[in-house]
């Protein structure tokens, strides 16, 4: 509710943007649309509602919970127990204790199970809802990588397999509209309607995307993790919904992280 007041000016801005580009030619129109969209994104960056999620995540991190009434403070996200700074920029990665390549959502779930004694079901219930604990924790941990360069994990064969699977999936076409990720994300300077769709095969574009997620989505009124973003892409591709934290999602994240290697994390970002 608190955001309704914020959303109206955005709608008006969008309308103004749309009107102001009516009279221009294709290329000028494209450039103009991009500029306008970036301009209001910058304006909103000053007051990103994701900060609320971040603060809540910080609190949850240190609050005893679950059957064991333990905190997550000893959670190992890849850099050692409780080491949060820069951890997100190196995920997904292989974890020997679970013998899996895990992203942040998946690793947090592991910690909720091992440290707090929760079941998987308890740890992931309602993960997609606004104000879910998972949303807050993901936002908080990702924020701890702000200013840190993405370093895609690629040393282990399991990590290489994950990103290779992600790459193959990126080009895999199926469904009644023949879509793959590449349909929208393999050419420069493209838009669906007024929404930019970046060329994820080009490092600069991939970095511009991957450094912003998790992000507050204005149209949804909540923070979305990269998982949620990818699952929603599949919905728009008219695919069925994959399982949360499933192999295909983590593989796509691994591939995209590799594409975005070296980008400086700025998440949580703000998106349409």
């Amino acid at each position: 509710m608190k955001l309704c007041a914020k959303r109206w000016p955005i709608a008006i801005l969008l309308l103004c943007t749309a009107w102001s580009i009516v009279a221009l030619g294709d290329e000028a129109q494209d450039a103009r649309a991009r500029d306008e969209i970036n301009k209001y994104r910058e304006m909103l960056q000053e007051g990103n509602p994701a900060e609320l999620s971040e603060a809540r995540g910080e609190e949850l991190w240190a609050t005893p919970a679950g059957p064991k009434q333990a905190t997550l403070e000893q959670c190992d996200l890849g850099l050692g127990p409780g080491k949060l700074e820069g951890a997100y920029a190196k995920l997904p990665r292989y974890f020997p204790d679970t013998a899996q390549v895990q992203d942040l959502d998946s690793r947090l779930t592991t910690c909720m199970m091992t440290l707090q004694g929760s079941t998987r079901e308890q740890a992931t219930r309602d993960w997609h809802k606004a104000d879910s604990e998972m949303e807050a924790l993901v936002t908080f941990v990702a924020g701890k990588s702000r200013g840190v360069k993405i370093e895609a994990a690629n040393a282990r064969p399991e990590e290489q397999q994950a990103s290779a699977l992600g790459e193959a999936l990126f080009f895999r076409r199926s469904g009644p509209l023949d879509f793959s990720c590449a349909t929208c994300h393999s050419q420069p300077d493209k838009r669906i309607r007024l929404s930019e769709v970046r060329d994820l095969l080009v490092p600069a574009d991939a970095q511009a995307v991957l450094t912003q997620w998790p992000a507050y989505r204005m149209s949804q009124g909540q923070v979305w993790s990269m998982e949620r973003r990818l699952i929603d892409c599949m919905r728009q591709m008219r695919w069925p919904e994959p399982q949360y934290q499933s192999e295909v999602i983590i593989a796509l994240e691994a591939f995209l992280q590799k594409q975005a290697d070296g980008g400086v994390m700025q998440a949580p970002g703000i998106k349409r």
Binding site: A18, W19, I21, V22, D26, D30, H128, L165, A168, L169, F171, R172, R173, S174, G175, P176, L177, D178, F179, S180, A182, T183, C184, S186, Q187, D189, K190, R191, I192, R193, L194, S195, V197, R228, I231, D232, R235, Q236, R238, W239, P240, E241, P242, Q243, S246, E247, V248, I249, A251
Partner: protein, 178 residues
């Protein structure tokens, strides 16, 4: 990859596998060649697409441009999701997602070329009508591994709806050409 897909989409029904995830020959080849197949494979894809074209039973490839405009504007339909259940079950062409058409609709995407003034560009000869209909029905009848959905071929739109969109593109009264 297929094992990973099976495990990841373990909730999908057999019908959903068949219509949403399993690939036909063109989809397999285009995925494998990352949408730039070598010439002989491209020719096979185009040939197969051409031989499976279908037309409205009444033979009219130019339908009602007003209906075509509605279909072009309609963006929803066909999503499967527990997280965000489908709100608009009616399927549309969602043409503006990728193409500029009527100049009145300013929020057009650019994944495909601008089609504003299409009739002037292409002319309204029988050959032009046929090309336009067939391109919308199955874009790969003209370009192997085109990013454009095979709207008619995949049964997303009916041949009559494809004819309506053809009219929306070619009718002199359509806003595309005014």
């Amino acid at each position: 990859m297929n094992d990973a897909l099976r495990r990841s989409f373990s909730n999908a029904t057999p019908e959903e596998w068949k219509t949403r995830l399993d690939q036909d020959r063109a989809q397999i080849l285009c995925s494998q060649h990352r949408n730039t197949p070598p010439p002989e494979i491209a020719a096979a894809i185009v040939g197969e697409a051409k031989s499976s074209l279908r037309y409205p039973p009444n033979g009219k490839l130019l339908g009602d441009w007003r209906k075509g405009e509605e279909i072009a504007l309609l963006s929803g339909g066909g999503q499967l999701s527990r997280l965000a259940p489908e709100r608009a079950p009616k399927r549309g062409g969602n043409c503006y997602a990728c193409h500029a058409l009527s100049p009145r609709e300013v929020a057009a995407g650019n994944l495909g070329p601008s089609l504003t003034g299409y009739a002037k560009l292409r002319g309204t000869s029988d050959a032009s009508v046929r090309y336009t209909y067939e391109k919308i029905f199955n874009a790969q009848a003209y370009l192997a591994c085109s990013f454009m959905p095979r709207f008619g071929h995949n049964g997303w739109l009916t041949p009559e709806q494809v004819a309506d969109i053809t009219a929306f593109l070619l009718d002199p009264q359509s806003p595309v050409n005014r």
